[in-house]
């Protein structure tokens, strides 16, 4: 009898499994436990559908999208704003109809159409600046990265990371660069390369390097700040006179998706005040929904508020996309060798 019941239950499960619609999401690999708890599981419960999550680095997932454009498997993709522009230019993504999103009006202005043509919608953003040992050095400018106190004690993002263009953009600004190829900034980094401890590829390495006093300063995105504050060391977040940079992560609808209605529902859910609040409270993502209210203690670890958003020197995605190759070439000639 028990066996028969189990069998029946299993049959029931497989039938519902087969009937349930699936929605495939392509996203970053970080904090998946948190996303599962606050985003995926509640959405599945609400829609009675099944989410399939594919994770990876932003650029690599765009390539996959391109490779499978004839028969796309992914419905919604989360990536950087410039990768979104790249995908839009390649005709891989759909124009988003804002009217289908009930939470659209709650978004900060900068998140509504970050790459133009309604091809993407921001779901989180972050500032990028310098974390430094306030007892060892004082940082007021991006050019201070080359201060003598930091000789052999500074980590910069490698050109392969999404933080590198932002760091270069600001350093270039600080040293009076005038050209879009950031030649002055790249030159500056090239001259100090011997004094750079490492050009890091994984931001997750930074807390350990700071703890071991391997480095006194590092350029990083605010999403890594919580891990550094936990060290309990005298480390400050710089507010350089040239400003902080930053980036927006966005969602796009994949062209040819067979689950568009469900995809809209998912995007809307992700942007809702409730989900954005929960993701912020667990320090997973900074909210773009202006209705999200956070305690100071939480806000301190994130990038929060309309004023912060306005103050950031964001690299226009079009410039980044257009110049990225020149920056990489310049970097390879001056810094990597």
């Amino acid at each position: 009898m028990r066996l028969a019941l189990t069998g029946a239950a299993a049959l029931l499960l497989t039938t519902t499994g087969a009937l349930a619609q699936t929605l495939t999401i392509s996203t970053y690999g970080i904090a998946q436990d948190g996303f599962k708890k606050h985003l995926y599981a509640p959405f599945e419960a609400q829609c009675g559908c099944k989410l399939v999550i594919e994770v990876g680095n932003s650029g690599e997932r765009v390539s996959k999208l391109d490779a499978r454009k004839a028969n796309p498997e992914v419905d919604v993709i989360a990536f950087t704003d410039f990768d979104a522009l790249d995908a839009a230019n390649k005709g891989l993504t759909e124009t988003i109809d804002a009217k289908k999103l009930t939470n659209y009006s709650k978004l900060y202005e900068f998140a509504r159409d970050p790459v133009g043509g309604n091809k993407a919608i921001g779901y989180t953003y972050y500032s990028t600046s310098i974390a430094y040992r306030s007892d060892k050095v004082k940082i007021d400018s991006w050019a201070d990265l080359a201060k003598p106190e930091l000789k052999g004690r500074v980590a910069l993002p490698n050109i392969t990371t999404s933080q590198a263009p932002l760091a270069l953009f600001m350093i270039d600004k600080a040293v009076g660069g005038k050209t879009p190829d950031l030649a002055a900034g790249i030159d500056f980094v090239g001259k100090m390369k011997g004094d750079v401890t490492t050009f890091y590829e994984r931001g997750s390495q930074l807390p350990q390097l700071l703890q071991q006093e391997e480095i006194y300063a590092a350029v990083l995105g605010r999403f890594g700040w919580a891990g550094i504050k936990k060290l309990g060391m005298p480390i400050a977040w710089a507010t350089p006179k040239e400003g902080q940079s930053g980036g927006i992560n966005v969602l796009s609808l994949v062209k040819g998706s067979k689950n568009q209605d469900l995809a809209y529902k998912f995007i809307d859910f992700w942007l809702s005040t409730e989900v954005q609040t929960k993701l912020a409270q667990d320090l997973i993502d900074s909210p773009v929904n202006a209705d999200v209210k956070l305690d100071d203690a939480i806000a301190e670890n994130l990038t929060y508020g309309a004023d912060t958003a306005k103050s950031l020197s964001l690299v226009p995605p079009a410039q980044l996309l257009e110049q990225r190759k020149a920056w990489v070439d310049g970097w390879n000639a001056k810094v990597a060798r």
Binding site: G59, N158, T160, T198, E201, Q212, E213, E214
Partner: protein, 272 residues
């Protein structure tokens, strides 16, 4: 019947290797010599024209060679000691030797980040003994990668040499001694030639291992000490340049085979 049985038994494994390994590798390698669908050597030439890539190429050969040489010298001494010990101690020693191979390479390499760090054990000793007024910068240098690779690969060399030493007929060394050969003569004229096969196997394993190690150079060297393997990863992940990655893959395969052939030559030449 028996003639057919042999090949028939290997068929599942051979099919698996052919479909799951040889074919994809060939497809990958073919990417390196095609431009717009036609055969071309330009990706390969491009690699050797780029000074940055050439630097990585020579660094990889230099470091792998140095790691192999160090492992051979240090490994030989260790292997002799192990073979000389009592059977029960031998088991324990080999067990200890294999133990690090059972630890995740990521955890092991991160341990080196702590040990080699500015506040780590090595620098504690260096500064404590007054060898340097302040802690040395070891992390993200070739030295760090070298140390990490030797620790990673030394057991393979020792194991190959232990089995080679165990296979030496028991009476050849006493015979050489009886005939008046000293320790050095016995070692260089008898033991070493008889274990050259072990050195070739160990050397190939260590050299290939150093060539294709990813985690060690990635964590201990970072982007300032790129090796072919870390460069390959960068080409795929960041620039999505499959052709460049294919070129590096070809170079790695060629280097591995060349190393094996050369080592056999060297070992074979000495005995004649």
């Amino acid at each position: 019947m028996n003639k057919l049985l042999g090949p028939a038994l290997t068929l599942p494994a051979v099919t698996f290797i052919a479909v799951g390994f040889v074919l994809p590798v060939l497809i990958l390698l073919s990417e390196a010599v095609t431009v717009n669908g036609a055969f071309s050597l330009s990706p390969l030439i491009g690699f050797f024209r780029d000074p940055g890539s050439v630097e990585v190429f020579w660094r990889t050969i230099r470091l792998s060679g140095l790691v192999t040489l160090t492992s051979a010298v240090v490994g030989y001494a260790t292997a002799l000691a192990i073979v000389d010990s009592s059977p029960s101690a031998r088991g324990r020693l080999i067990g200890t030797l294999i133990l690090p191979l059972m630890v995740s390479p990521v955890a092991r390499t991160y341990a080196w980040v702590v040990v080699l760090g500015r506040t780590g054990l090595v620098n504690l000793v260096v500064v404590g003994l007054g060898l340097s007024p302040e802690p040395l910068r070891l992390l993200f240098t070739e030295t760090a990668v070298f140390i990490g690779l030797v620790q990673l690969l030394l057991p393979l060399m020792v194991l190959s040499l232990v089995s080679a030493l165990e296979n030496i007929p028991a009476d050849v060394v006493p015979a050489a001694r009886v005939l008046g050969a000293g320790w050095f003569t016995t070692f260089f004229k008898v033991t070493l030639p008889l274990t050259r096969e072990g050195l070739v196997i160990g050397g190939t394993l260590v050299f290939t291992g150093a060539l294709t190690a990813y985690i060690t150079p990635a964590i201990l060297g970072g982007s300032k000490v790129l090796m072919l393997e870390t460069l390959l990863y960068q080409r795929i992940r960041v620039t999505n340049d499959i052709a460049a990655a294919g070129v590096i893959a070809i170079i790695l395969v060629v280097l591995s085979i060349t190393a094996n052939v050369l080592l056999k030559r060297v070992a074979g030449g000495r005995s004649q």
